[in-house]
Symmetry: C2
């Protein structure tokens, strides 16, 4: 291992300190039901917590309350699994009705192995069971589907917040997905409005004058993961505000984060 | 789509509001060199910014300054690429010396396609070029390797911080990795000391009494991603403090986050 000699230490440069970022949880004690006005509900929660929305804030919302407000809820008693779904689910002690819904919500099946069903959803997300989930609904009778068009849901929520507050804040909708290679779930952005999901630092120079080659950062996914630290399945906190992060404004949606199958080495 | 009737709305329950989480950047204007005392350097930066370490804080550090302090730096002029590395790198206008180092640091090659080299490192990380990187070093003359044993590096840093401050804080070391299926890089935990990397909520009940089945959250990766929002390649901020997140103490290392090849559907 070759050592860089101490004499070469570059002189300290004064750089502007980056700002602190705050993750401010928004508890929503009310159960969100189909037809509810989500923006109103979230803003009421903010008022209850005496939090004022500020310019520069980012709203991050777990998809489940978005799906609920949009009526993307299905009574599992009304779902008749195909014999194929039934047989496969039985084999792994899974609910065949959830598997049936997952297949209906899928554009294609990526893997079905060891009791794990990974699909590509109609939106283009690769995740377990097409994101169909029965937790945090009503104890197992209904299932929640992903929003039909999460970018549109995010844009709607953003517009509704702007109408009520006069502030134009980005909105990110998230879901927790598993990952290849790594254990555990993390939150991912599935719908985005009002900011660029990627920060492209390629061709910019680091402090040593080296031109960056691969530095495209999925900031929307990092914001989603950060939100996962304060939002949770157990604490009735399905949303948060992220304050202090300098996002790039501009058009962009979740499609920017989805690698096309043609350039993906791992399907 | 079946609708849940409004009459079924459960009564609002009082729940304890989750705490705010703060991401406090630690700028390190000095270049870290082999043999430098990293703990001392980071604590000096904290003092300069008038930040006091508090019980419950988590230290998140980008691996590059850890690798530099440990001397995991190589002069690229000393690396002779094999004819194979040379031919493949040439084809995609890559630096054959970086490819050669990546292969030396790899346990196996996972994909080598379209100018992308994905390896499994000796540690078990799946990432591009075995994590070998030339940005933020000295303009392209030296390359930085991942720490030899990042869990050990994290434990060492944690002990050194404890000796100097009396506070026993978890330490997470991170690197930015690409992901299958998604565009852009995010920060991942590659070394962990002083906290459990996963939070296992399986068999706990959601507010509706439904028993969670799959809820294992990779909190160390979410903390790493959150840190990515304040740390950066361009702002000399290679570390931050995360304050307010209730981590689980206990033994654990990055191995907990690495899915064994035998149960991984995507290699």
């Amino acid at each position: 291992m070759r050592r860089v000699s101490k004499e070469k230490r570059p002189a300290r440069k004064q750089t502007r300190s980056p700002a602190e970022v705050r993750l401010i949880p928004i508890p929503v004690p009310d159960e969100i039901l189909p037809g509810d006005n989500l923006a109103e509900n979230l803003l009421a929660s903010l008022r209850r917590c005496r939090i004022r929305l500020e310019p520069g804030d980012i709203f991050v919302v777990k998809h489940k309350i978005v799906s609920k407000s949009e009526g993307r809820i299905l009574d599992l008693a009304m779902v008749s699994p195909s014999p194929e779904s039934f047989a496969w689910a039985q084999q792994y002690a899974l609910d065949p009705r959830v598997i049936e819904l997952a297949l209906r919500e899928a554009r294609s099946v990526i893997r079905r192995q060891n009791g794990v069903l990974i699909t590509e959803t109609h939106h283009g997300f690769l995740c377990a069971n097409s994101g169909v989930d029965v937790s945090n609904v009503d104890g197992g009778r209904h299932a929640v589907l992903l929003p039909e068009n999460p970018d549109r849901s995010a844009a709607n929520l953003r517009r509704a917040i702007q109408r009520r507050t006069g502030l134009s804040v980005p909105v990110i909708i998230t879901d927790s997905f598993g990952r290849p290679w790594r254990e555990g779930l993390t939150e991912f952005a599935i719908g985005i409005a009002g900011m660029k999901p990627l920060r492209d630092d390629r061709n910019r120079c680091d402090p040593h004058g080296y031109k960056l080659k691969a530095s495209v950062e999925a900031v929307a996914d990092e914001l989603a993961s950060a939100a996962g630290l304060v939002c949770g399945k157990l604490n009735r906190t399905p949303a948060c505000i992220i304050r202090g992060f300098r996002y790039e404004t501009g058009a962009g949606g979740v499609r920017d984060l989805l690698r096309p199958a043609s350039s993906d080495l791992f399907r």
